[in-house]
Symmetry: C2
């Protein structure tokens, strides 16, 4: 029975029961963390042998004979460009390989356009005093952080099960102070939604008022499947080409959640017009990124098939964790009508909406009970979830046993906060 259909007496009784359960949990003095999308130890171990690939007995030359240990090759070694190009489904000449962080490349891209126009004749974004950026919500807090740092007003766009609500996006881009949109098109952070073909086509066909409007296409989970299905995503560049809009998207990806989060390889892909502006900045910024690490990755995977085979090992580790989260929601919370969620087919999170007005309370209660969740509201710009209902669960780092405990705590806290709210509302 749904809590909203409980009588006041039933709610009081339930609250007493939940209060006791919460007390018992607190006595366990747990210390569990489901707050960030961090790979677990077993996942790190999958790439341990990569550390042997480049050693003192191997040569470190690129396929065209350049020494990876020395200076140079600003946009990445050819073999690594080719590998990252396959990952992003683009041609290698569209690719630039960077350091260890795609977030860094995204930050640098926005930073570049702040002071240098991406389209000749347009104002650098610094000079657009009312500059705005579209932020599908719920979304990735670190994306929002970048545009907040650079003084953009962030306009939220609700996510549907097919991606950002395109009716709203098409309306908003009529404002020429709207300069871009953040997208995690596959297995979105946090909901795990993959943009439908229609959504990708409509994005590719956008005719924004701002000539320098850009789609930040963060393909962070491009091969991060949790099921056999390998959900497909339309190729944004191909769709943009058809729409004569090739300069619209800039794609990003990395191996952070494939090899090592701290020591992976990041890359970006864009049209030649965009790349001209971006590389003209990088050539002043660096002589080149870490080519030994690029070589290490290429030789470890051998090719893209090798990388995909590696991802199956990740899946085997992650699937039971996601199942534990989803089953716990299904078995312990759903029946009370206080939670909605999507079962993700990939990515790193389970996004849930708890009873409106209780998300902050749930996170606080969990914390008191020894379970750290991502701060409520983190999935919204300015950490402001107007309904106070979205919570991002990150199931990758804890063990399945710990997740079982943590999700039990979470279920009790969800119920406690809901009943507490209903009692206060009815009082």
């Amino acid at each position: 029975m749904f809590y909203k259909d409980y009588t006041k007496e039933q709610l009081k009784e339930e609250f007493e029961k939940l209060t006791k359960e919460l007390e018992e949990i607190k006595n366990l003095k747990l210390s569990l963390n489901m707050s960030r999308g961090v790979p677990c130890q077993e996942q790190l171990e999958l790439s341990r042998s990569m550390l042997d690939i480049i050693n003192s007995s191997v040569q470190c030359q690129t396929i065209d004979g350049q020494d990876c240990r020395n200076y140079g090759i600003m946009d990445g070694i050819p073999s690594c460009k080719a590998l990252m190009a396959q990952m992003m489904s683009v041609s290698p000449d569209m690719v630039m390989v960077g350091g260890n962080s795609s977030l860094n490349m995204m930050f640098d891209t926005i930073a570049t356009f702040m002071t240098t126009p991406v389209v000749e004749g347009e104002k650098p974004w610094y000079e657009v005093k009312n500059r705005k950026f579209l932020c599908p919500v719920p979304g990735y807090d670190r994306h929002f952080g970048i545009t907040e740092y650079f003084g953009f007003e962030m306009i939220t766009v609700p996510m549907t099960e097919n991606g950002p609500d395109m009716d709203i996006v098409e309306e908003l881009v009529k404002d020429d102070s709207v300069k871009g949109i953040w997208c995690v098109p596959k297995y979105s952070n946090p909901q795990g939604i993959t943009y439908s073909d229609e959504t990708v086509k409509r994005l590719a066909q956008l005719k924004p008022a701002a000539k320098d409007f850009r789609i930040m296409w963060d393909n962070a989970y491009v091969i991060h499947d949790l099921t056999e299905e390998e959900v497909s995503l339309l190729n944004i560049f191909e769709e943009c080409k058809k729409a004569d809009n090739i300069d619209l998207p800039i794609q990003f990806c990395s191996t952070s959640k494939i090899t090592f989060p701290g020591s992976g390889v990041a890359a970006m892909a864009a049209s030649s017009n965009n790349m001209k502006v971006i590389k003209n900045k990088y050539k002043f910024q660096t002589i080149g990124f870490d080519k030994i690490n690029m070589l290490r990755h290429v030789r470890f995977f051998k090719d893209f098939d090798g990388m995909k085979a590696h991802m199956k090992k990740h899946r085997a580790i992650l699937k039971p964790r996601f199942d534990m989260v989803v089953e716990n929601i299904k078995n312990n919370i759903e029946e009370y009508g206080i939670i909605t969620y999507l079962e993700p087919k990939g990515g790193y999170f389970v996004s849930v909406d708890v009873m409106e007005g209780t998300a902050k309370r749930v996170v606080a209660l969990c914390k008191e009970a020894g379970v750290i969740l991502t701060g409520a509201g983190a999935t919204y710009p300015y950490s402001n979830d107007p309904k106070d209902s979205n919570i991002r669960i990150a199931p990758t780092a804890p063990s399945v046993a710990d997740l079982s405990k943590a999700m039990y705590v979470f279920s009790v806290c969800c119920k406690y906060a809901a009943v507490e709210k209903l009692l206060n509302t009815n009082a």
Copy 2:
């Protein structure tokens, strides 16, 4: 006898002789490069065993138990901060360790201040339309590139044998649109000059009109001695502290010319006020740089003494190269009164001034004869050497045998260009 004292007849005779020599050289079809400060293969080999340090059988924990393979630790692992702090003669809490490139950190620092004031209440530099930067000349082309990219007017300051001419610097900083100065304080690029105690003190005591004036202290060659002397440099932070000016300098260094140029570790050091602004940017820019590579470096060197011992091996490789350059100048060019130079005690270059108005010609002649030099003028902002006389020789990459050939070519070209010019002037 100096060429300037030659009679016209003697000059003509010399020119004929040099023309023949140049023809003979061209017939050799040489292909030699003395253009960039790139370590040679033997130097790269010194760090080959570093590639074995982190392998699949070692643990990758920091001293406080964090896994270097995973996300986090935005400002660098403690042990690497400590090592880089020793290198920069500062306390570890002043240090942030970055990626593989100190140039990248310098670029990012200027980029940060373009849009975010380093001193609260001051304008971001983007808004200072007539922003200026002081550039000691001859200097490092990539420094000048950064400030040119960001639209600074670059004001040249002549180098003396004690560092930048401080009388001029002290005058120029009275203009509040002058926002900083580029410095390579030890074994400067390209002259190999180490700033005198007086120069460092006067820099530390500057009272610039701009509250947000910053000294970009690029300590690229801090332990890169070519002699037993280990020339000493006053500690800029200590001097600034005495002068109540601790926010003035920002120091940079890297292991690019210690381990691998493409895969070293870079770091910066600054006061807490400066670091607050800088880290508040980095926390949006990245989750953390490559910690495995930091760990690799720390374990390879063990401590700062290990790093210094390693530098002696570099010295043994580099000293004969620098000697070859200097001896060649002494034996083959100096007697004609057409060259001045300083014999460097460290760093990566030999800077020479050839006869005024002939540097471009010398570089062009050398190129025709198969020897690539750094473009004439590259050591000046906008590549504009008003006297057209400075040439930067980079002796590290070629073998001693190749250097011998290249310097012979250089000597013939210097003489040819000088005699040619004298003949034209007298015509």
